[in-house]
Symmetry: none
Subunit: 415 residues, 2 copies
């Protein structure tokens, strides 16, 4: 297998001001493509440390991917240090210059500063990788049998460059075994219980097949990865094992594709030619955000009401004031009324309502932080459920959204 | 200054299964305490890679902090590899054994397995650091002038050990310089324009003070970092320069604290004893999510309407049907009606409305993807603005939210 090192450059990583999500994403994509990341190194915007890291990583890896330090400002020095390291000289790259000009004229619609011209400069000894989302070009250096690729640290710029440039290039460059993946998504079961359930299956796997547990927002993705020289053999083996795995976890399986819970719900709504409406209190719009993150969601998502205050619950969702006073905002009765209220108001086939206390404040002895009521239903039927979560605010919001959407999925399937 | 390397050990880090939040937290705490993290290295549970990392990091740093790979299962090998590296032999540590037994009897209330006894074994050449939250003891090795400290990877176990053991030890061990930071947030100006504006200031900075540009969701944070022997002198120098910087960027400054735009808006709403309502079309609940991510937001956030379909715009926000037909959903007129509609319906002091086309589909020649109309206002005044974005769906949503919240901030300040 081809060994890869990732070097992340930026002082902000070393004082902990930002959490490095880039290299996790990169590692995942590279792994899917059949490459092994063996080291991830984070260093500051410092010449000695950059040169040292380049020397060290080339000893261990055939490919060194570098992100960060390509901004136009003085604290970003990656480009000039790379230029020195590979004994090049800076030249203006025509394509990069064209891209910078295009971005300022057509996208940012702002006059270009001299400093931006610097973004079009690259060492004459590199191959330029286009950056469709930003002004900093990617740079590819080949020296003896080692490959170095420098990318911007801005996540969406790096991702675009990885998908369009880097991964296709690496696949072409190296004879990687055929690597096939099959992924399914489970919800409503913890990682350790899942592991218990599929223990024997996991132990019986051949050496060429790996199982990975990928926890994601309170759900667990299971990925089977098969490696082999022959594509047909590899894929038929993978399919056979993937079917076994699906049967073992069928009770908890959301989808047997590498998709999200909200995408699965999108599929179901489209299949049923149905529409959805949401009434969110404690999740504060997060569920709407998940649903509308999917392109084309306007086809089946009517909309939502973020009923943070009781006034909104009463005025917009016509929640009965007595019910609010008698049971309190966080109660099964109010969840029910929110659901029926938004269903009729927004004229949807299905509706979901959530109300709860996400913390850190707002809890009481009888309704502690983490108490949540969820209601899902349509014109003829309704289901409710109470959650008792014990995490921080962000995590409580995520988990509430996950449980609400999974309840909706099961309701739609009559499960 | 004392240089520190952090080595994080675990296969899950190299396939991108988990995002490493530990080392960001450690870097923050060490930085506050006056230590400089110069390298962060992530490697797998692999003997060669661990030994190699120990050899490499001791060349660059005086202190090497190691997390992960201390579990009782076979894939965790950090302890035995450290034992070999420092030429020790494994012995049962009485205090560690006592702790393991205590945790199983008093905390987990589960019978202890033989495998758990292994947790009390440590190399005889290390000093044991107590782990109050888990069974794996910390290990401190001193060799010539280098210090190595191994900690568990479980975040709350690592944090407890850092706070109670590691940081106090390091402070006692070394005479450290003080490091101080000041951060401000700007919006509505690109990194390069900002750099142009503060070019002279940046060039005039003394060697002990550094300026960093930190782009974040279409905004830019500026961080000044001052280092010095004397805390009073260092902080007064930093304060003086930070004031100069604030004056230079005042026009674009959102806050002179290390806070987000939504937190600043929270402060303003609380100061003004005002409330907020949102009408989101194209951002689909994302702005509500940002606002409600802040604990206590129910004090000033009445709620929002995600008016994805025209029915909702008409029924809930009372947008005039003729206006919708004449100008189309993505228009200044409809943004205005959404704003006034949600303001009165949700009885708020301020309201923000956004309508647009986030893509990839839904664009037209006259209204291409990225066309957005924003309206912010209160009972007596209203401001509108058109955006023309050219990014992917997620990014367009993020930037629309940022611009809308920044318009609200300026409106609230009468700027």
């Amino acid at each position: 297998m081809i060994n890869i090192s990732i070097i992340t450059i930026g002082d902000e990583l070393l004082i902990g001001q930002v959490i490095d999500t880039n290299s996790a994403w990169m590692a995942q994509e590279l792994n899917k493509a059949g490459f092994a990341v063996i080291r991830r190194v984070a260093i500051g915007d410092n010449k000695h440390d950059i040169l040292h890291a380049l020397d060290e990583e080339r000893k261990e890896s055939s490919v060194i991917l570098i992100t960060g330090g390509l901004g136009p400002t003085n604290d970003d020095i990656t480009k000039v240090v790379l230029c020195e390291y590979f004994r090049g000289k800076m030249i203006i790259n025509a394509a990069a210059l064209k891209n910078v000009k295009y971005l300022f004229e057509e996208v940012f619609k702002r006059p270009m500063q001299d400093i931006n011209l610097k973004q079009a400069e690259v060492p004459d000894c590199c191959t330029v990788l286009q950056n469709k989302c930003g002004t900093a070009p990617g740079m590819l250096f080949q020296q003896s049998d080692k490959i170095f690729i420098s990318m911007p640290g801005v996540p969406h710029e790096m991702k675009g460059m990885m998908e369009d440039g880097v991964i296709p290039f690496l696949k072409k460059q190296f004879e990687v075994d055929c690597i096939l993946h099959q992924t399914l998504l489970t919800a409503g079961i913890g990682e350790s219980f899942l592991a218990e359930k599929i223990k024997d299956f996991e132990e019986s796997l051949p050496a060429t097949v790996r199982l990975a547990y990928l926890p994601t927002n309170g759900m667990v993705r299971l990925r089977l990865t098969a490696t082999g020289k022959d594509k047909l053999q590899t894929s038929s083996l993978l399919e056979k094992l993937f079917l076994q795995l699906q049967q073992l976890v069928s009770e908890y399986m959301v989808t047997n594709k590498d998709e999200t819970l909200e995408t699965e719900i999108a599929h179901l709504l489209i299949q049923q030619k149905a529409t959805l409406a949401l009434a969110e209190s404690c999740t504060g719009g997060y569920i709407s955000h998940l649903i509308t993150s999917i392109p084309g969601s306007s086809a089946y998502f009517n909309g939502g009401v973020v009923s943070y205050s009781n006034t909104v619950k009463e005025e917009v969702l016509s929640v009965n004031t007595e019910v609010l006073e008698q049971y309190g905002a966080v109660s099964e009765a109010v969840a029910r009324e929110m659901m029926t209220g938004v269903l009729s108001k927004l004229k949807a086939t299905y509706a979901v309502a959530v109300t709860g206390i996400m913390g850190p404040g707002g809890g009481s002895a009888e309704k502690p932080v983490g108490t949540v009521w969820i209601a899902v239903g349509n014109a003829s039927d309704i289901r409710t459920r109470e959650l008792n979560l014990r995490f921080d605010r962000q995590r409580n919001i995520q988990l509430t959204a996950m449980h609400a959407l999974n309840m909706l999925r099961k309701f739609m399937l009559g499960k």
